[in-house]
């Protein structure tokens, strides 16, 4: 593993995607302001052109410009990440410049790169699709103040998208709880505003408020836990905390501290019982933003959970369990069941997707539980040791493909929102007649969420189940009684999948069977950007499900780069 100091040459190479994002951010702030503005030297009549403000050029005043800048930046960052993954990435650790007590700040390796792929991919798709979602007034011609204001607001939205991406990637890279927290807050605050961005709709403002209040309480609790951990260990470095925890971990102070920190992340992954704000937030936010919450933001929470549970409070090597094992197992069971039952009862497609997202969080928590139940005995290395690796691979793969079909489903709803409303099941009515390809895409997303082969969602769910069963079966089990109890989580998971089919299919039935709502028989609003995004999602869902092997290998390498840290 290479180490490098901040702002060295290697630093710039390793953090290329983030720097790109930063450059994009600057461009987003500056470029839309470029105009024929001049500066008059005081006391003279000499006007120096300084290009800020004034009457803006036709290019810079184009309301679509911010969206393009954001999309291109995020896509560029995505490609940069994929490129560095492709080039056989070594781990690069960024340490503080203090030579004696150099602290590890950021770590660039396969693990964090995969998460960056998730973040940038989701955000790029969402910002591309938002071009059709956010109201843009006519280009050129006379605009009144209100319209101008609406156009100006475009820049704000995409700036927030970029800061959100920046914060998330800091979370993925952080090796220090404090750095991680900064990233988390940067991303969180961006999402609070993004949720409330549709100021025209009451639901949006309410959702933003709720999400903000609950979110900041969760963050506050997390911060409090952070301070307790600092009090206990005198450092917030992951490796220091982990070493300390291995020595004297099972004490009230660190346990309470970790528990509090987990509340913060639990909110992000929308695990029950911290999920209450999620359905409201998703329902009130514009659909692309809700899609980001359900994919990228959730992945960010998972990074936190993985770091806290598997690095800091690592499972005990001797008896194959972790202190948090039973607690997390119960939480997983609760989350997946609650999410699915609540989704059964919701008639708002966005709330339904929100609850399905809760259920998916439950599946992933079950995967984490399985890792906690894994016997960390070196003598198992090579056979049983692979079990935890398998689960980790499955989790990464699941988060990655979730972007395709979860976000895709939200983008379909986004078109319906532009058409008027997507908050009732009947809004989807007759979609198959209004635009067959869109209905087909939605159907693909739904069955992928339900885990029907050959979609990507099946493969990822199968892998999570396989990982759990692998740990549950252990070695030499000959009867159900010999299984570790995490095996029953797998059973609960498949039963939950069966329950979930009902509400996913209901969407399909409404789309194909029912008539459109009164006055909504006509064609849907146009917009090739959002349709392109949806097409990308469909292709990814199907192709990864059928030919996903290389992606699987990538996740495996990423998981390995995490496990070398264990």
């Amino acid at each position: 593993m290479e180490t490098t100091q901040a702002f060295s040459t290697e630093f710039y190479t390793a953090l290329r995607p983030e720097l790109l994002l930063f450059a994009g951010l600057l461009a987003l702030i500056i470029v839309p302001n470029l105009g024929k503005g001049t500066f008059r030297i005081p006391g003279t009549q000499i006007r120096l052109p300084w290009f800020m403000g004034g009457q803006r050029y036709s290019l810079t005043s184009n309301p679509h410009l911010p969206a393009w800048i954001a999309t291109i930046t995020l896509t560029g960052a995505f490609i940069a990440v994929a490129d560095s993954l492709n080039g056989g990435l070594d781990s690069i650790s960024v340490v503080s410049s203090d030579a004696d007590t150099a602290k590890e700040l950021l770590m660039v390796n396969g693990f964090s790169r995969v998460f960056e792929l998730i973040f940038f991919g989701a955000l790029a798709l969402a910002s591309f699709a938002s071009m059709n979602r956010l109201k843009v007034e006519g280009v050129g011609g006379k605009l009144n103040a209100e319209q101008l204001y609406n156009n100006r607001r475009q820049a704000d939205f995409y700036i927030l998208m970029l800061t959100c991406g920046l914060g998330m990637s800091v979370v993925a890279l952080a090796q220090d709880l404090f750095v991680l927290f900064i990233g988390l807050e940067l991303a969180s605050f961006s999402t609070y505003v993004l949720v409330a961005f549709l100021k025209e709709s009451k639901a949006g403002a309410e959702a933003g408020m709720k999400y903000f209040i609950v979110g900041s309480v969760a963050s506050g609790v997390g911060l409090y836990g952070l301070s307790m951990l600092y009090l206990w260990a005198g450092s917030l470095q992951f490796d220091v905390l982990a070493a300390e925890f291995a020595l004297t971990g099972v004490e009230p102070l660190p346990l309470i501290g970790i528990g509090f920190v987990l509340v913060g992340f639990g909110f992000k992954v929308s695990a029950a019982p911290f999920h209450f704000a999620a359905p409201d937030a998703y329902a009130g936010a514009s659909s692309p933003v809700a899609g980001v919450l359900a994919t990228a933001s959730k992945a960010m929470g998972m990074v936190g959970l993985i770091r806290m549970l598997l690095i800091v409070a690592a499972p005990d090597a001797s008896d194959g369990s972790a202190v948090w094992l039973v607690c997390l197992g119960a939480l997983a069971a609760l989350t997946m069941t609650w999410g699915n039952l609540a989704a059964l009862g919701s008639t708002n497609p966005k709330r339904m997707l929100a609850y399905s997202s809760v259920a998916h969080a439950g599946y992933m928590l079950a995967g984490l539980t399985a890792i906690g139940a894994w016997t960390w005995d070196p003598s198992f290395a090579g056979s049983e040791g692979e079990a935890a690796l398998l689960v980790m691979t499955a989790l990464l793969f699941h988060l990655l493909v979730l972007v395709a079909f979860k976000l895709g489903a939200f983008l379909v709803l986004s078109i319906l929102e532009s058409d008027g409303d997507a908050s009732r099941l009947s809004s989807l009515g007759g979609l198959a007649k209004r635009e067959p390809l869109l209905a087909f895409a939605m159907f693909i997303f739904m069955i992928s969420l339900a885990g029907v082969p050959p979609m990507a969602g099946f493969l990822s769910k199968l892998m999570v189940i396989m990982g759990i069963v692998n740990v549950g079966v252990g070695t030499g089990a000959t009867s159900l009684g010999d299984f570790h109890w995490v095996w029953w989580l797998a059973l609960l998971m498949v039963l939950n999948s069966a329950v979930s089919v009902f509400y996913y299919l209901r969407i399909a039935v409404v789309m194909f069977f029912e008539q459109p709502e009164e006055g909504r028989e006509g064609p849907l609003p146009s917009g090739w950007q959002v349709r392109t995004s949806i097409l990308i999602c469909v292709l990814a869902t199907v192709l990864i499900g059928v030919f996903g092997d290389s992606l699987l290998e990538m996740c495996r390498t990423a998981a390995e780069s995490l496990t070398t840290n264990w």
Partner: protein, 538 residues
């Protein structure tokens, strides 16, 4: 193997062709697409028939031995998990594949005038491709993928072309069978992970788990392990057996898991019903033979009585319920349940002959039940009603439909010289032999004997009420609105003739298919006995 790829690809291409066209273009395209689908499915049928003559017709019984596959091919699919695209055919799967390719063109012909043809016929092709995929796959993962994949086109067939309650029926169908499948999936995954890793090869198959999804390897390993005790351990083998069987029993379906079937059948369009009864139900029986029966023979012995009870209950209950039906299609659906009971009983006898009877029943029922549903479809198509009493005296005004109905009904109740008779007779002999051999009570014969009478009763009774009764003073049903009573269309006649022809062919010359099934079952039991897994006997 091309067999899977072609229909799926063709279906998708044809669907893509029509997906974004408007209504009138849709109608214009419907005929060429119908022709293309028919030509394509006929090509497939010719291909599998040629395959029969080339590979299976003159094969010796050694070539059909247990766990020995023809046209075996394997490609890497997800090497990281040990998943391969592995296909192969043996005496279990080949008849089913042939049956699928046979039924596809027949279904297309029988439902020639289905509405929205431009999307209907490609969906049928997709369905056929998925079904073939189930039968040819020799990889657990691939098997499960196609197993679930069959649900999607069938869901749409019911939803888009079904009857009045299609919304309810399609969802019930999907959820019911999906639930059973996921339990089966957990069983498959547990089976996959409980095999000792790095078996034999020393390598790890280059996978993350060191295990394989390859069915032949698993079966081979299971057979070796079963010689010295139970593969996977006694209680585990039982648990896995139950988990897998649950998935298959629901698909079959056996009472009490059968409630999805009548709903699905009654609401499904004729083409959907034909494929559903003809091939999709057989997936359950096929899955049993392919996985639990091959891998868990000890558990099979342990659960023999339970299987026998399931079979008897399905057989008798299905027949009794048939008696009370007023809906023609529902009656036929329940008769399927009853016939599936025969398959279970055949399996439970654990005699080569019983197994061969079960296999032949799958095949014969796969030809006869589509004809039953084609008759029901024609009935509905022309009289706009499914009620048994709605149309009387068909013999007078619709001789073609009356004849077809009579033929199909007779075939289904097991008239000698027709395909169904062979299977039923073999099952009865095997059961009798088994009872004698194992010293079970003769009372076990009461069920099948009773059902012989019951089956004759419900079929004859329904025939009497539709074909013969009230010949002269026929009142056309109200649903006809006073139109002239038509006989069936030429396409329907053609489909009936083809189905009837093959029913007679396999009734008179059953050895065409039976030979290989018989060889397979015999070698299976010889294999099990010589390896000391089963005690001597047949």
């Amino acid at each position: 193997m091309q067999l899977v790829g072609f229909p799926v690809v063709a279906g998708i291409v044809l669907l893509a062709f029509v997906s974004n066209t408007n209504k009138s273009a849709h109608d214009r395209l419907s005929n060429p697409i119908r022709m293309a689908s028919l030509a394509f499915s006929l090509g497939l049928f010719a291909y599998t028939t040629a395959m029969f003559f080339e590979v299976f017709a003159n094969i010796t019984s050694d070539g059909l031995a247990f766990n020995n596959y023809k046209l075996h091919d394997s490609y890497e699919w997800f090497p990281a998990l040990g998943i391969h695209w592995t296909v192969g055919l043996d005496a279990l799967s080949f008849p089913m594949v042939w049956l699928t390719t046979f039924l596809l063109p027949v279904t297309i012909i029988a439902t020639w005038h289905e509405k929205n043809g431009a999307t209907y016929f490609p969906t049928l092709l997709l369905m056929g491709g998925a079904l073939i995929g189930v039968f040819v796959s020799l990889d657990l993962f691939m098997f499960y993928v196609f197993w679930e994949l069959t649900l999607i086109p069938m869901f749409f067939l019911i939803l888009n072309w079904g009857g009045k309650d299609r919304k309810y029926a399609s969802q019930k169908f999907f959820i019911y069978t999906f639930t059973a499948s996921v339990v089966m999936l957990l069983g498959l995954v547990t089976l996959y992970l409980m095999q000792p890793d790095q078996i034999g090869t020393g390598g790890k198959y280059g996978t993350m788990t060191g295990r394989t999804f390859d069915i032949p390897t698993l079966v081979e390993h299971a057979t070796a392990a079963n010689q010295n005790g139970w593969f996977m351990g006694e209680s585990m083998q039982k648990v896995l057996f139950v988990m897998l069987m649950l998935g298959f029993l629901v698909k079959l379906p056996a009472v009490p898991f059968h409630t999805w079937l009548p709903d699905a059948h009654v609401q499904a369009p004729t083409g959907g019903s034909m494929l559903l009864a003809g091939v999709m139900l057989k997936m359950g029986a096929y899955g049993m033979f392919r996985l639990p029966l091959s891998m868990f023979p000890h558990a099979l012995q342990h659960f023999q009585l339970a299987l026998m009870i399931f079979g008897m209950v399905s057989l008798v209950w299905g027949a009794i319920v048939c008696l009370g039906q007023t809906n023609l299609k529902k009656m036929v659906a329940y008769s399927s349940v009853s016939h599936m009971g025969v398959i279970l009983i055949g399996i439970a006898t654990m005699q080569p002959m019983g197994w061969a009877a079960a296999l032949f029943m799958m095949f014969a029922h796969g030809i006869i039940s589509p004809m039953l549903f084609a008759v029901c479809g024609a009935f509905k198509h022309h009289y706009h009603s499914m009620e048994i009493g709605a149309m009387r005296g068909m013999a007078k005004h619709s001789p073609w439909l009356a004849t077809s109905m009579m033929f199909a009904w007779m075939a289904s109740l097991g008239l000698p010289l027709l395909a169904g008779f062979v299977a039923e007779l073999m099952m009865l002999i095997a059961l009798w032999y088994f009872i004698d051999l194992e010293g079970w009570s003769v009372l076990w014969m009461v069920g099948p004997a009773l059902v012989l009478a019951l089956t004759a009763a419900y079929y004859l009774w329904s025939m009497q009420r539709t074909i013969f009764e009230g010949g002269d003073e026929t009142q056309p049903p109200a649903t006809l609105h006073g139109d002239v009573i038509p006989d069936i269309s030429n396409e329907e006649k053609l489909a009936m003739l083809i189905l009837a022809g093959f029913t007679i062919l396999f009734g008179v010359l059953p050895w065409i298919g039976l030979d290989m099934m018989d060889d397979y079952c015999r070698t299976f039991f010889e294999h099990m006995i010589s390896n000391g897994i089963f005690k001597g006997g047949a």
